[in-house]
């Protein structure tokens, strides 16, 4: 187990999170609400990139209006997620699903930054690809998140070698 995860687990903050009756449910709700906020709004932008909605409207205009709201949602998502992580660091650190989820979040962020920093004409050639990748990645994150609660690939159980390796089981 990673020393940082072990250290974090025994801090008063982490202990308080685990012992509180209401903090975890509240945090989980905040996390779910911000999922709707972020993924839901981004999906609208992605649909526009895929030419599925608001087809008469300018892509960049829609993008510039949605991005600030989506970003705000993303920040709340990351903050609530960080606190949820702090409540049980070792379990999540060694979780196959959580690691995969985190990887997809990184890929999703890269895709979003790529879209954000591209300019003008060449944007529209790959706009559909960006939109599709975005939807698939963020929905994938939601899907993987739900799997975290299940212990199928907990260290010590029988599992394929590559999953054990990826999960950091020693």
């Amino acid at each position: 187990m990673h020393p940082l995860a072990a250290w974090l687990e025994q801090t008063p903050f982490s202990i308080a999170l685990r012992e509180s009756l209401f903090i975890y449910p509240v945090l989980a709700t905040v996390h779910v609400v911000s999922i709707i906020w972020f993924v839901g709004l981004i999906a609208i932008l992605d649909l526009r990139l895929l030419n599925a909605v608001l087809t008469d409207r300018d892509v960049l205009q829609i993008s510039s209006k949605i991005k600030p709201w989506a970003l705000a949602g993303f920040i709340v998502l990351m903050l609530s997620g960080a606190i949820l992580l702090a409540a049980n660091p070792p379990r999540l650190y060694l979780s196959f699903w959580f690691r995969l989820k985190f990887l997809l979040i990184l890929l999703g962020a890269v895709n979003a930054f790529w879209f954000h920093f591209r300019a003008g004409a060449d944007l529209f050639k790959s706009a559909r690809g960006t939109g599709a990748i975005s939807l698939i990645l963020w929905l994938g994150v939601i899907f993987l998140s739900r799997m975290i609660a299940f212990d199928w690939f907990a260290c010590g159980r029988t599992m394929p070698d590559w999953i054990a390796w990826f999960s950091g089981c020693s």
């Binding site: 709707i36 906020w37 839901g40 909605v53 087809t55 829609i62 709201w69 929905l139 939601i142 739900r146």
Partner: protein, 150 residues
């Protein structure tokens, strides 16, 4: 009783005997929550004159309607499967009953007052409609999560 029949149904038995069906359907349900919620949220924000301000509220709502209904159907279908998996537990759950009640109210509200307000000009009515819708969805989300904790 209907619930006993559902609990004994082939679908219910299959879900309970399988390791993966329930988690996958639940994950799909959550994806539906995000997508449906986002579509509704965009219009609610627009009603409050936030977000996609340059687009007419009516145009926005109309353009998003197929997507909203489609994701709503996904939510409902996955929800039915989740219910059939444990009918008695859901039926007896305060959280589920609360969620379902607010959901029915919201659907009714969305098809009547909210839709009418989208076409209206009054700023105050629009802001109230947006807030009302968002608040109800917040309650539904909270109750949905609460089911998992109870």
């Amino acid at each position: 009783m209907l619930l006993d029949w559902l609990a004994a149904s082939a679908l219910s038995v299959a879900i309970n005997e399988s390791t993966w069906i329930f988690p996958v359907v639940e994950a799909l349900h959550l994806c539906g929550v995000a997508l449906f919620g986002g579509a509704v949220l965009v219009v609610d924000l627009r009603l409050m004159n936030l977000g996609l301000k340059q687009i007419d509220t009516q145009e926005l709502a109309t353009s998003l309607r197929p997507w909203t209904i489609g994701t709503g159907v996904l939510l409902f279908a996955s929800g039915v499967v989740l219910f059939v998996a444990e009918p008695w537990r859901m039926y007896m759950s305060t959280a589920f009953r609360f969620k379902f009640l607010i959901l029915i109210i919201w659907i009714f509200y969305a098809f009547t007052l909210r839709r009418k307000t989208i076409d209206q000009e009054t700023a105050l009515n629009k802001v109230l409609a947006g807030l009302c819708s968002m608040f109800m969805l917040l309650l539904i989300t909270f109750a949905g999560r609460w089911i998992g904790f109870s």
